[in-house]
């Protein structure tokens, strides 16, 4: 039996976020994150399984046997690096898994996963050594390297071509309970699912729920492709992050932090799913923002919608500043609100809504 008073109170959302972003889980190598998620969801779900690609599927039974099933997908992978060469003096050349702005990498610390994890700094040439043609140009990945401080012989005992490196960054607490760090894209989404699961301890729901922590989103939503096929849900909602507001941003490209969950509309989204999300937000007084995406979104929603015979799909996001950097910044209250929104949405699902969705 669930010790509701105990568990719900013991770990708060802020702690959850602090812990989950400090676990390394580069695309294709998500095991450690999966273990954490599996453990922290176990009080709230009925069963847990992992598929052949590593997607973690957490199932929570609904109260009605023939009620619809819904998949909530948030990806647990993060962008990272992969070693391509060991130089004579032990420096490591690398390429990326997922999309980095190379200009954010000089001076960044990393953890290289050799047989034993080892710390490194992404080294760079001082600007006074720039050749004429390099002046005024940004640094390229081929001119950067990871410096572990060890000579080649020692490096080669531990690290090989193909070793993975993760960005190293602690949890940075800021004003107003806001926080920054790496991998909030999309561990913030996992935290939304966790919050949703916790809300549902005391909310009755007919629908059968699949919380899926997907793999390899950052390299092409690959986890979502197979997990949706494997589960074959009636509905799907991808939970991800969207661009938060920052100085110099175009207003239409960003959503302000601290103003609640973001629901996307556009061709990737079933219009009635989005409508129902907005209605649910209004009914329960949850602040909610509207975002527009003119084509397939860059999220798991892209894959879910065209799985099997087509699945009514929505996208719920948390605004995040400085995406794909080591200082991704969020307001945890947005995570909490998004989690509640999903919980109430799930609670309102029934057979008749499902029928509405296919009569267009």
């Amino acid at each position: 039996m669930l010790d509701e008073g105990g568990l719900l109170k013991k770990v708060n959302l802020h702690d959850y976020l602090r812990k989950i972003i400090q676990i390394d889980g580069v695309s294709g190598y998500e095991d450690n994150v999966a273990a954490f998620i599996s453990e922290t969801f176990s009080p709230y779900v009925d069963s847990t399984r992992t598929d052949n690609l590593g997607n973690l599927i957490l199932y929570k039974r609904g109260s009605k046997k023939d009620a619809p099933s819904i998949l909530f997908a948030a990806h647990m992978d993060e962008i990272g690096l992969i070693v391509t060469k060991i130089e004579d003096n032990g420096f490591l050349r690398f390429t990326s898994l997922g999309g980095f702005d190379v200009r954010t990498l000089p001076g960044q610390e990393v953890t290289v996963y050799g047989q034993k994890p080892v710390n490194g700094i992404i080294g760079f040439k001082p600007s006074y050594l720039d050749l004429d043609e390099e002046k005024g140009q940004s640094v390229e990945m081929k001119n950067l390297f990871i410096d572990t401080g060890f000579p080649r012989e020692q490096v080669e005992k531990n690290i090989r071509i193909g070793s993975i490196a993760a960005i190293k960054r602690g949890f940075l607490p800021l004003l107003n309970n806001r926080c920054a760090g790496k991998a909030f894209d999309d561990r913030a989404g996992i935290a939304v699912l966790w919050q949703c699961a916790r809300e549902l301890v005391r909310i009755e729901h007919e629908a059968h729920l699949y919380f899926v922590a997907t793999v390899q989103e950052e390299v092409g939503t690959r986890g979502a492709i197979v997990s949706t096929y494997g589960i074959s849900p009636d509905l799907g909602i991808a939970v991800d992050v969207c661009h938060g507001d920052f100085p110099g941003a175009m207003e239409h490209e960003v959503s302000p932090l601290g103003e609640g969950a973001v629901v996307t509309v556009g061709p990737n989204i079933h219009p009635l799913m989005a409508k129902r999300l907005f209605e649910t937000a209004e009914e329960y007084n949850l602040p909610c923002q509207r975002d527009v995406s003119p084509g397939p979104t860059g999220t798991d929603a892209r894959a879910i919608q065209i799985s099997l015979e087509g699945i009514p799909t929505a996208l719920v996001s948390v605004p995040l500043r400085y995406m794909h950097t080591s200082v991704e910044l969020i307001a945890p209250e947005d995570v909490k609100i998004a989690g509640r929104l999903l919980a109430y949405f799930a609670a309102g699902l029934n057979r008749s809504f499902l029928e509405e969705l296919s009569c267009l």
Partner: protein
């Protein structure tokens, strides 16, 4: 470890008080007499075991580090900033910082790659387009905890793993740590150790410190760039990690006094300690200011080689630093025993 403890303390040029307080506390606990001047230089008077044996020797290390200074608080609550000293701008992007005397955490953000045009990514980001985000909701919210004129230092955890030391401000907390190490030992002669301010903005502390104590000989303990990286040709390496402390022959501010340089080489050879020569001829050190103070000082520089100085995380080797301490120790004894004719 002294280097990592010192590395953690914010102390941007002009705002060295917390570093100074840390050092003062050490000096007091060791019973070493000390005082400060109006710029903030800290002078420690090391008493020799033999009475009246004043060596005329000054040892120094600068306490300050490069950093930033808040120049405005934007409507959105973001902070604009100036550089203090030669910060490597390219290493600022997406790094955490501490703002003001209360160490308010902030991050230097950057536009997400998804929102950039291809041409945008090819240009380096300019400092005037960067800002610090402390999580404030707006200007008023930010001004509750920070203000224009607050100093900003890098935030990174210092660490020691085997022989490898990493952290911010190793330039020149490694020098400060070496000087503190020396001050704990016994010497036959007296000398003055000076922890200087504002080196990174023009050797300004050293100018007045040297004027005050008028040394005959000075040795500056520094930290210098090791450019022994694959992107630099061998002749551009300046110094290498693991090759021992570096002796300066010349930099932009000084031609090291030949008698001082010769003595450094002599004691290093006698002790069979590894050392190297700094091959880059640019940049300035406190030695330049000291050598020109009053009617002149015979000055030299000994440095720990260090990769990625003036960036959020630098790296040096403990063995290089230890060799610097031992050569400096031997230098002091040699100046007492044999004198040093200028």
């Amino acid at each position: 470890m002294l280097i990592t403890e010192l590395s953690q303390i914010p102390g941007v040029s002009g705002d060295e008080s917390r570093v100074r307080d840390f050092i003062k506390e050490k000096l007091s606990s060791w019973g070493i007499e000390h005082y400060t001047d109006s710029l903030g230089n800290l002078f420690a008077l090391k008493e020799g075991k033999k009475n009246g044996s004043e060596s005329g020797l000054m040892l120094s290390a600068h306490m300050d580090e490069v950093g930033l200074l808040v120049s405005s608080v934007e409507k959105s609550g973001h902070l604009r900033f100036y550089k203090v000293g030669g910060v490597d701008e390219r290493a600022l992007i997406t790094k955490p910082v501490l703002v003001g005397p209360n160490d308010v955490m902030g991050v230097i953000g950057a536009k997400a790659i998804h929102l950039q045009k291809k041409e945008e990514r090819k240009k380096p980001l300019k400092i005037e387009n960067l800002c610090i985000d402390i999580g404030a909701k707006d200007k008023d919210d930010a001004e509750r905890v920070v203000k224009v004129g607050d100093y900003v230092s890098f935030y990174s955890e210092a660490g020691l793993s085997g022989n490898i030391v990493k952290g911010k401000a190793l330039d020149n907390r490694a020098g400060c740590a070496a000087l503190l190490e020396i001050l704990q030992r016994d010497y036959p002669c007296s000398f003055t150790a000076v922890f200087t301010v504002q080196e990174e903005v023009g050797l300004r502390g050293a100018i007045v410190a040297a004027y005050r104590i008028k040394p005959r000989i000075a040795l500056v303990l520094e930290t210098t760039g090791a450019i022994d990286i694959p992107e630099a040709k061998n002749q551009d390496h300046s110094t290498s990690l693991g090759a021992g402390p570096a002796f300066t022959v010349k930099d932009q501010s000084i031609i090291a006094h030949p008698r001082v340089l010769e003595r450094l080489i002599e004691v290093a050879e006698r002790q069979k300690r590894t050392y190297q020569f700094r091959r880059y001829g640019g940049s300035s050190t406190d030695a330049g200011a000291i050598s020109l103070a009053g009617s002149g000082t015979a000055a030299g520089v000994i440095s720990t080689p260090c990769r990625y100085i003036h960036a959020p995380v630098s790296m040096l080797l403990k063995e290089d630093w230890q060799n610097l301490v031992e050569i400096t120790d031997a230098f002091i004894r040699s100046v007492y025993e044999k004198g040093l004719e200028i």
